[in-house]
Point group: C3
Chain length 255, copies 3
């Protein structure tokens, strides 16, 4: 840090199991990725190349190398997995993971219907090759999954070999864990936490108010995702009680 | 593309008449313009220097050269044309187009009142020198133009020599084609399409939901505009059915 | 300017007392700061490193040097001052200002409760070392300060040695001077202006509609703040009547 302040909440350090920050890159240029890493690299644990943007972005290999050289793993958004599955091209998907030396993969069913046992089977297959993140929640704001079912799905996916499970919110933060207004489905989150260990969950929380809500509930070292590249520094200050939103939260709890 | 997926909708290629992507640059630096082109250049058909930002941005010649070298034409936003017109400086405007070697120009009346015959006269004059884009719709959200009038205005402007007509939405996507909430005036769009060929229209659609709406209605190769530089890659995935919003739209229609 | 237009409102030039543009940098990389300055540097009067982002951003010295070389002063957001105060580390705060050769400082009480005389005492102490900006308004949208009190606070802080006072709005523009919807508390602003000279106030106005409102009320050379780096060029066009929002405002008033 650039100077000393007392009473700053403790942050885990990399490689971490909690306090994870997952960033969404939806098409940064090489130089923009470098810029982002020069400021925020030390606070970022993993980068997702959003949905299937990797299909159309040029210089993909070069960008993946930049993240690799910074010691930050990357993965393709779950929608890419689904795009291969719905086309019955799972074997091709495996070849893509190989071709780009991916060490993580996301399994999701946010845009298609798939029997849950089949999803778990994909998790099992992929978990033998890479670290698997699996995602629960639909991208369709009309499809509401009740809390008990979120829990059952998450547990089954962890049992199938997922390293962590992701709670869906999209880039906008207006589905899945959240209402269309962006408001947290707080009852859902609290019920999930009665059954699933909080270190096993990454909460997609692209909006500041959502990040604040999770940090107030679960502390500085909650795992959050879908953070925009230029929001990592602001997020870090919220984790440390150094932005108005959490300014006295940690002082109260550490006093 | 970085890997192969079957059943991807066909995209036109440059130079194209449909499937056009018009991007708004509201003040990128030289390096930011280079970054943008390095990622999205192949998907961008034309760049608008938003409204009269060209008046105050330094290094204008250098930036125009960067777009020219990338084979992407540029034009000054219609508000600049209007700023010259309301000052009775049309001749000066022509000199500005000359000075900067512009090959496209926009004629609009979004911020001033002008008899439509006069607007068409400007289109005719300019069309003898450059390719003219003309824009229909007010920047004032209180001025609602009924559908039959949109059609008459668009047709007269095409007849006067406009290469394509643009449907107004501003940077925010909350006037003209859209309600102040951003919702599409769908009846308006559908009525326009009964009379004006869809390849002659560029729909300003800065918000994702607006882009999705037009792509679902008119297909991957609809012409859209006022796209932010960092939204070109996301837009391209929506055009290809590779984002949640259009994930099964093309699969259904191509099956 | 890149070409000539008649009837453009007069703009003050740097160093200016009015027409001030304060920009918020919430974590730009070195190269992003350079890019920003290459486009907007001539229009920016001062840069705030938002709240306590300076604690976590790497290369702080290097970035401060870039702004210094461009002739643009910088200061740490008021939340940093408050973070030191609430920890009873005011002397450490002074050392931080020294260490980084800061010539400006912000005194605020947006995130904590402090007797106003104590706040004024800090202003007095700091004003003997640096130029002080003091800020009025809470970051808590539930704490509404009545207009007469805004005036009393502002006047006392100017009397204590503040160079200018800042009206609070946060990065979002949804507290303090504004309702949670972003709408201006116009009665508040107008009442403040009956007592406090407009050149002594910097209005935080991050949203375009807020900037437009202040420019229409107070002219091209109103002081505004919390401008995002990529909104400086758009703001400059609004000041000059070269964007739709103020297109005819200055023509009417200068005719």
């Amino acid at each position: 840090m650039n100077y000393e302040l007392s009473n700053i909440p403790e942050r885990t350090s990399k490689p971490r199991q909690t306090g994870y920050t997952m960033v969404m890159d939806k098409g940064l240029s090489i130089r923009e990725a470098e810029d982002f890493l020069s400021v925020a690299g030390q606070y970022v644990d993993i980068v997702k190349l959003g949905w299937a943007t990797s299909y159309v972005t040029p210089n993909l290999k070069e960008k993946l190398a930049i993240y690799r050289d910074a010691g930050i793993p990357t993965y393709f958004g779950g929608t890419l997995f689904e795009a291969f599955i719905i086309r019955k091209q799972f074997e091709d998907y495996l070849r893509v993971l190989d071709k780009f030396d991916m060490t993580f993969a996301e399994v999701s069913d946010g845009s298609l219907e798939m029997p849950h046992e089949e999803k778990c089977e994909y998790i099992r297959k992929l978990a033998s090759k890479v670290t698997v993140l699996s995602e629960v929640g639909s991208k369709d704001d009309q499809k509401i999954i009740p809390p008990y079912k979120w829990i059952a799905l998450m547990q089954a996916e962890l049992d199938a070999g997922a390293w962590k499970v992701i709670g869906e919110a999209r880039e906008g933060g207006n589905v899945g864990l959240f209402r269309s207004t962006g408001e947290v489905r707080s009852g859902l989150v609290e019920e999930i936490l009665t059954k699933i260990p909080f270190e096993k969950i990454i909460w997609e929380a692209p909006q500041k108010a959502q990040q604040v809500w999770f940090i107030k509930l679960l502390g500085s070292n909650v795992n959050v995702g879908n953070i925009a590249p230029n929001e990592v520094i602001p997020l870090e200050t919220i984790r440390l009680g150094l932005r108005g939103d959490t300014f006295d939260h940690f002082l109260k709890t550490t006093k």
